[in-house]
Symmetry: C2
Subunit: 234 residues, 2 copies
């Protein structure tokens, strides 16, 4: 299955503006303005001006939760999105309830305290993002993420992603019935099931440095249709 662009001109528009360039522009813009987000529960909130807001939207980070005054918008970022902007792109600082900017070390501990599997899920998220895929929640389809070749306004998501960990059993795809059902669902909504198996050398997740020790094994799982591989009848 290839990409399914949304309507006429969507493919040309997507190719004319590569996602890598949009994310670079966002990185430059946020770095220049020394942006700060603040933790709120299991999300990070960020007040964006018009330019920042446009770039966040085009690069598909976060979602607008309300418009504030003077053309500013409040954005809500997931933990993965916030940590990606902060730790990988170095263009966002994040402060706690006390208004003090958190160090990478403190942030890492906070992320794990909110979500035990954060190291593996973040590794998977950043692996896809670094390869210029747009990554969003896949909960609507019972998977961890969905991945888009470009902005979801231009193209349907191509991959349904499940993250498996070598450190801790995530519980998915242990049963054939779960595997069959997941593959069938993905086929039914025209996505390919992509399993990202995140494997570490050891189980030490005490610092974000562990991210560089992870290997990712990627596998797609598809239905095999015997008729397609059979010799054609005369």
């Amino acid at each position: 299955m290839g990409p399914r662009w949304k309507g006429k001109g969507a493919e040309a528009k997507g190719l004319a503006e590569p996602m890598s360039e949009i994310v670079s522009a966002l990185q430059t813009c946020l770095t220049t303005s020394e942006c700060k987000g603040s933790i709120s529960g299991s999300k990070v909130l960020f007040e964006a001006d018009t330019e920042q807001s446009e770039l966040l939207n085009r690069a598909c980070f976060g979602r607008v939760i309300r418009a504030s005054q003077k053309d500013e918008h409040w954005y809500e970022l997931t933990l993965q999105e916030a940590f990606y902007l902060c730790y990988m792109l170095k263009c966002l600082k994040i402060e706690g309830d006390d208004g003090v900017v958190k160090s990478y070390e403190e942030l890492w501990q906070f992320m794990i305290s909110k979500f035990e599997m954060f190291p593996e899920f973040f590794k998977a998220y950043s692996h896809m993002r670094m390869n210029n895929w747009v990554v969003k929640s896949g909960s609507q389809y019972g998977v961890d993420y969905v991945a888009y070749r470009h902005h979801p306004a231009l193209v349907h998501s191509e991959y349904a992603i499940l993250v498996l960990s070598g450190r801790k059993d995530c519980g998915r795809l242990k049963l054939w019935s779960d595997m069959y059902g997941t593959v069938r669902l993905c086929g039914g909504v025209a996505k390919t099931l992509l399993v990202l198996h995140v494997l570490g050398n050891n189980n030490d997740t005490s610092s974000a440095l562990c991210l560089s020790n992870y290997d990712i094994e990627t596998r797609t799982i598809s239905r095999w249709i015997p008729e397609q591989t059979r010799e054609k009848k005369e």
Copy 2:
């Protein structure tokens, strides 16, 4: 979601020949001819004459594996189908490799030796069959069974069934992502997810008598579409 009949006249045909009457006719026919099936691996094989074959097909038990001589057909029955015909309808005897007819007690032990969860899965199968549903494997959709209102030639299956046990964890629907994916899949193929939770008073499965001690909790799980329940806009 109601039944989806296959084409014109299918509903009238289905209503004119209730499944209960077809199964009764099969029961009478097999009882009269003192039928015997024989165990082969995890299946039961049965050689049917023309009348038996027609009724097996109309009642949707087993599948033809090959035609034998003189209009006879070899049928392959699943363990559930064979035990249902034998123990519930008392119209089939089953013999082992030695050619000796097995007692209910021996058969029960054999079924459990082939499939540990047989008590719960058979209870679920017979519960649906007793209520005149046609029950077939749901492995194509990653579930345990699918249930049809009438013969699959006349109507699409309405329910996708998962069997959960109170005795032993079947592993399904433990994770929200599995639940979401399964419900979404069922909706996508126009079936309702039916969860049959089979609960026993104790864990004694040493004899088929335990079947009468099981309670079945039945639940359907569906997507909730908020717009449908909202007051209409003027």
